[in-house]
């Protein structure tokens, strides 16, 4: 690295608090005397603060949007109460005659925008109104620029603030928003051709109309001359949605309350459109796919079957959701159950559990095998096991288990494997030997046959198609054995977090089945049992696994985070893609320019 970059790295470490105490002191005394270095540190700190601030300003921007949206909802409820004569109206103040007369009774300034009246202009105000001003619509007496002062009022508070009223010839009027457009400088600007104004609205009323405001003598505005809105398409769609809702949904659902099925208000904000579309078409398919939300709702509503609506088209569903969305604005979202919270909890739980499980598995992997067999020759050197390849019938299936909490070590000095029995020695007869235990333990243990008199130690495995019976040579249980000798079978393993052990002593014969009953024991108990047997220099030891402390700590954490799991919700189900995605503000990221470094 260049020395400049090394300095940057050093400052970075300093700002992160990664330098040692001694280095920090040395560094600080260095920049106490060196103004250039001090400046460098400060600049780097500023840049880091600016990077951090980017996320804070994004947060504030979101809060702002949320704030403006929620004031809208408040007004929605309020407006309804006052909708006495006319259910709703979009109010528009324009001044078709000389617009120079100031109709607004208050002198509070609006926002100003400068436009060129000789060009087509589309203006979007900071509050979101869109104003299309075609070329030549405003006669500014030939001036190249005109400043427009625009006041927008979408909430009761704003209307009062600007001194605007919602009355038509003395009757109250419900308002979807008002806009007032004035030239900012006194002059003789006039609107000579229509301009188009679109106001932002979260909710469309069926009989909204456009009113014109004229200033009365008392400084109040009277709203008269209602006109149909130019853009009635959304309303047609909502009407279509309303009819669909009444015919298809209303038999089982209401917007506000539980009927046969859950209330549907705000559903468009809780599930993605594609999910809703799939669910409306064929809810059974979504449920059987294992989708979390679908199954959760299905269970809460006692597995009541919902009708299928395969015939609804994409635009039908779009209209339906638009209608529901529009009606939802009149309902306090807090009064409608929101099941999506359960999935936030599930997501949180799964994220944490996955990390812990991953660490746990890594620790278990590091522990090695649950039961280790060490064979030494008479000098004490370790010898490797010979592998027996048996073709007919195949050998027993030995299952190796990873060590979680305990590790068993079976160590022998000068002992032999089962191959010693295959040689033609006197007294060895073809025999059948089975070891049987319950399935739950059989799945978790390693089983050994020991004949101390002959120094034979051999590991057993499952017999053909069995989950309970072990053999020691071939999968049909056959093994040549010396007859009438003292022998043992023992099992080592762990089950439900505890070490398990069993040993059984027997005298060999031509055909026998030994039952083993492994049971949970402490390390001391196992040591005590083994020490009472004369095993002829064979030792069986049990110890805690290498990573036992850390694994037990993870187990405790896993049990603790289980409380993130919501009640009634199986977090092992399939969360949809939107749920899995980590939300991230991308407004600061731009596509890399071609040829950028």
């Amino acid at each position: 690295m260049r020395p400049e970059l090394e300095l940057i790295e050093k400052i970075e470490q300093y700002l992160n608090g990664e330098l040692s105490a001694a280095d920090t002191t040395a560094f600080e005394s260095q920049f106490a005397t060196d103004p250039d270095l001090r400046e460098a540190v400060r600049l780097q700190q500023d840049i880091r603060s600016a990077l951090h601030r980017a996320s804070l300003t994004a947060s504030i921007r979101r809060a702002k949007q949320h704030f403006y949206r929620s004031t809208w909802l408040r007004w929605g409820g309020f407006g309804l109460g006052f909708a006495v004569i006319i259910a709703g109206a979009i109010l528009l103040v324009t001044h078709p005659k000389p617009i120079a007369t100031h109709a607004n009774p208050t002198a509070i300034p609006g926002d100003t925008y400068t436009i060129d009246p000789n060009r087509d202009t589309v203006l979007t105000t900071i509050r979101g109104a869109r104003i299309q001003i075609p070329r030549g619509s405003i006669d500014a007496g030939g001036a190249p620029h005109i400043r427009l002062e625009i006041k927008e009022a979408y909430t009761i508070a704003e209307m009062i603030h600007y001194g605007l009223t919602t009355e038509t010839n003395g009757q109250p009027l419900s308002s979807g928003g008002m806009i007032d457009i004035q030239p900012a400088d006194t002059g003789s600007a006039r609107i000579v051709r229509p301009i188009m104004v679109s106001l932002p609205t979260n909710r469309i009323e069926a009989n909204m109309q456009r009113y014109k405001g004229t200033a009365g003598g008392n400084g109040k505005i009277n709203w008269t001359d209602p006109h149909a809105l130019a853009d009635s398409l959304p309303r047609n769609e909502i009407d279509h949605g309303r009819i669909l809702f009444q015919t298809s949904c209303a038999p089982c659902h209401s917007l506000r309350s539980t009927v046969t099925g859950p209330p549907l208000a705000y559903i468009g904000q809780r599930r993605p459109g594609s999910w809703l579309s799939d669910f409306i078409h064929d809810n059974q398919k979504v449920i059987s796919s294992g989708d979390c939300y679908a199954n959760y709702i299905y269970n809460i509503y006692n597995k009541t079957a919902m009708n299928l609506f395969p015939a609804l088209t994409k635009s039908d569903i779009h209209a339906l959701l638009k209608y529901i969305d529009n009606e939802s604005q009149l309902i306090d979202s807090n009064t409608v159950p929101n099941y999506t919270r359960e999935f936030d909890s599930c997501r949180e739980y799964r994220l944490m559990a996955a990390t812990l499980q991953q660490n746990r598995l890594a620790l278990i992997g590091d522990n090695g095998l649950r039961t280790n067999v060490i064979r030494r020759d008479n000098t004490g050197a370790i010898i490797t096991d010979t592998t027996i390849i048996y073709t007919n019938p195949p050998p027993v299936t030995i299952v190796e288990h990873p060590s979680i909490y305990y590790t068993f070590t079976v160590e022998s000095f000068g002992w032999y494997n089962v191959d010693a029995l295959l040689k033609d020695l006197p007294g060895i007869e073809p025999s059948e030997l089975r070891v049987r235990m319950t399935e739950e333990y059989a799945a978790e243990v390693n089983v050994f046959l020991v004949i101390p008199g002959r120094k034979i130690l051999t590991e057993g495995g499952f017999l053909k198609n069995s989950k309970t019976d072990f053999g020691f040579l071939t999968e049909d249980g056959q093994i040549p054995l010396p007859q009438g000798e003292q022998a043992y079978v023992f099992a080592t393993g762990e089950y439900q977090g505890k070490a398990v052990f069993a040993i059984s002593s027997f005298i060999t014969s031509i055909q026998q089945t030994i039952n083993l009953q492994p049971s949970p024991m402490t390390k001391e108990q196992i040591t005590a049992i083994v020490s009472h047997l004369d095993l002829n220099q064979l030792s069986i030891r049990v110890a805690d696994s290498r990573n036992v402390a850390r694994i037990r700590a993870i187990d405790t954490s896993l049990a603790m985070i289980a409380r993130f799991k919501p009640l009634n919700c199986d977090c092992d189900c399939k969360l949809d893609e939107r749920d899995e995605r980590v939300e991230r503000d991308t407004s600061y990221e731009k596509a890399p320019a071609p040829g950028a470094q």
Binding site: E12, S49, L56, P109, I126
Partner: protein, 186 residues
């Protein structure tokens, strides 16, 4: 909601939730600014600055709230707007009463200067090459490990991503230094 839980939210990094509650104070601020010659836009800017100051201070565990949060925000906004007015229109007499202790005021003055420095640094970030800005934001804002950034942005190795990060910091620092020299800030 009480003030203490809001501070708690900020300290645990749940800024979104805290801000959505804090933003309810906006109408009062808007009124303050609008009655003193500002627009809604001005009010939003002032309020944002006050929120940034509050977020920075509240994240410090030593921060003690002496008044209600709403009062605190209002006072800070009043102070900030006075400061703005003084710069914009020196002829308008400003509101001498902010409701703050002189000590708090002088501390706020320092905060404002600090904010201005950071804003200049933000401008520098905007001017940076897209890839540089993305790299820095991924590392500092989204806290992605360098290894992941290397994969995501197609650098050969973690080390070359690290090297690149330092180069970007260097470019930003040099530009910021230049800006400081051409337009000295307080």
């Amino acid at each position: 909601m009480d003030d203490q839980p809001i501070l708690e939210l900020i300290r645990t990094g749940k800024n979104d939730l805290a801000l959505s509650v804090l933003y309810r104070n906006f109408p009062a601020i808007r009124k303050l600014v609008q009655t003193r010659g500002g627009s809604t836009r001005d009010a939003e800017d002032i309020f944002q600055e006050a929120l940034l100051i509050l977020l920075r201070k509240a994240a410090d565990p030593r921060f003690q709230l002496t008044a209600k949060l709403s009062t605190y925000l209002y006072s800070v906004c009043r102070f900030l707007w006075n400061d703005q007015l003084r710069k914009r229109r020196p002829h308008i007499p400003y509101d001498p009463e902010t409701g703050l202790h002189p000590a708090e005021e002088s501390q706020l003055q320092t905060e404002i200067e600090q904010e201005q420095r950071i804003r200049l640094a933000e401008k520098v970030l905007d001017e940076l090459k897209d890839r540089c800005r993305e790299l820095l934001l991924l590392f500092y804002q989204n806290k992605f490990p360098l290894k992941e950034i290397a994969v995501k942005m197609g650098y050969g190795s973690e080390n070359s991503a690290k090297n690149q990060k330092y180069k970007c910091l260097e470019a930003a620092k040099n530009r910021l230094k230049e800006l400081h020299q051409t337009s000295p800030t307080p």
